[in-house]
């Protein structure tokens, strides 16, 4: 299998506290890869290091064989990104944010088509801050796909959404996967990881605990589902 993201021995500290600690993993083309861990486990920092938004203290991270910090123009024509808790300009409308983001790419997808795909066409002239949580997250998925990316990064895409809205986002991500897009996501919802991810990597305090398919990870624990296996790997008691 072809790997499109490679992370090896990635390390980063803030003010003497090690947030990412010798992390290594690979993501294969076309798969959905989930980075799982508690709040503050280093998931977002790992994404930011990968995307070149922060500089690693040591180790390396490449996307499509390139260091994103050094080759921004090439990498981000081919990679889509949704950062945690995305915010938009005051009073901006859906069509305006689409136009603004589309203007950044050489060959952007027609945003009308994307809005339609994500059932947002009725909101084209609506203000982004008036959208519901689920609509906003569907919009951030659509925006991350404007450059027709080979890889997309979603950082806690469904945090704060209700069960229906979350499942709706999953459906869209599954469709996206069918089209061959590689998806890298972080989440702390185990059922989300179970439903979407081909492979997962569990981290705690910036260190890798285990990496593998959902089935492999469950089998290496004494439990029968991912939620319990996750807690067991995290070193926490499973309440029966």
């Amino acid at each position: 299998m072809n790997s499109c993201i490679e992370v090896s021995n990635l390390t980063k500290s803030f003010h003497g506290r090690c947030v990412v600690n010798g992390l290594s993993f690979q993501v294969h083309s076309g798969e959905v890869f989930g980075l799982l861990g508690h709040n503050g486990a280093g998931k977002s920092t790992t994404i930011e290091l990968l995307l070149g938004l922060q500089k690693a203290d040591s180790g390396s991270a490449t996307i499509l064989g390139l260091n994103a910090g050094k080759h921004r123009k090439e990498v981000f024509e081919r990679v889509g990104v949704q950062l945690q808790a995305s915010n938009y300009q005051n009073a901006i409308r859906v069509d305006e944010i689409c136009q603004e983001m589309a203007a950044l790419y050489k060959k952007p997808e027609d945003y009308h088509k994307l809005l339609k795909e994500y059932s947002l066409e009725a909101f084209e002239k609506a203000r982004v801050d008036k959208l519901s949580g689920g609509e906003k997250q569907r919009l951030s998925v659509a925006l991350a796909l404007l450059n027709q990316p080979e890889i997309v990064f979603f950082d806690e895409l469904t945090t704060g959404l209700d069960a229906t809205a979350r499942r709706d986002v999953w459906k869209h991500l599954k469709d996206l996967k069918k089209k061959g897009t590689t998806i890298f996501l972080t989440t702390h919802y185990m059922e989300e990881a179970e439903s979407l991810c081909d492979r997962i990597c569990l981290i705690k305090a910036g260190k890798k605990l285990i990496e593998g398919t959902v089935k492999e990870v469950i089998e290496k624990s004494p439990y029968g589902n991912l939620e319990e296996a996750y807690l067991w790997f995290m070193g926490e008691e499973v309440v029966q």
Partner: protein, 245 residues
């Protein structure tokens, strides 16, 4: 260039949508202009010029003041706080392009303010500039560039939107009221005039006023050098201290 223009046109639409910049930048100076000319338009304010003639240059500066000390720092602090600038790093486009588009928005609004004040003065109030118009535009541009550099420095030094709000209020209101931009400088007691002279905008307005009245005292060169110096220092500080997040 196409990329920059699309960003600019959307940012300008957003700026127009939030009315405060139009109110503070355009309607307020026009309103004060009408007020001053109704109260004391043709009275003599100083040696050989009327209140209208004396106030024209300073009211032109109100738009510059609003954009430099409110528009620029508040927009940049807000975008930084919302991680909009950071998100641009995950695109092929530099966030500097967005900043440039926003600075252009502020420039266009300041220019619109100057044009509105000029039209009302000339068409409705019969104002004619005694000095050279081209030289006046030059003085306006120099003042604008200098004040914008101060605004960018504030944007760089303030870590949060709260801090930016506090600092802009602390800078904007004294500049607005004490520099002669709204209340004619001639009405201030000498002590206050001396104090107000420390405000950079006071110097910019002095320059614009002298040029608009066709006066060329020797101190003009000193003011020009001072404004250029402030521009250089503030630009360097804002670039050195700038943080994207």
């Amino acid at each position: 260039m196409k990329r920059f223009l699309s960003l600019y046109s959307i940012e300008q639409k957003l700026a127009l949508r939030s009315c405060d910049m139009l109110i503070f930048g355009v309607f307020m100076p026009v309103g004060i202009l009408v007020l001053i000319s109704v109260i004391a338009g043709s009275k003599m304010a100083g040696e050989g010029y009327t209140y209208l003639e004396g106030s024209f240059a300073s009211l032109i500066a109100v738009g510059v003041c609003a954009m430099a000390f409110m528009g620029i720092p508040l927009t940049i602090a807000d975008y930084r706080d919302k991680k909009i600038l950071k998100h641009f790093f995950a695109t092929p486009c530099s966030p500097a392009v967005l900043l440039l588009a926003d600075v252009l928005c502020c420039f266009v609004t300041a220019a619109a303010s100057a044009i509105a004040v000029s039209i009302v003065s000339v068409v409705c109030l019969g104002y004619r500039m005694p000095g050279n118009v081209i030289a006046f535009i030059g003085a306006w541009l120099l003042t604008l560039v200098c004040m914008f550099s101060i605004g960018l420095m504030i944007a760089s030094l303030c870590r949060t939107v709260k801090a930016a709000n506090a600092v802009t209020s602390l800078v904007y209101f004294p500049m607005l009221f004490l520099s002669g931009a709204t209340i004619p400088y001639e009405l201030f007691p000498t002590g206050l005039q001396r104090l107000a002279a420390f405000l950079p905008l006071t110097q910019g307005i002095k320059l614009m006023k002298a040029v608009s009245l066709g006066l060329t005292p020797d101190s003009l060169w000193l003011i020009i050098v001072l404004l250029l110096g402030i521009t250089v220092v503030c630009s360097v500080v804002s670039i050195k201290a700038f943080r994207w997040e």
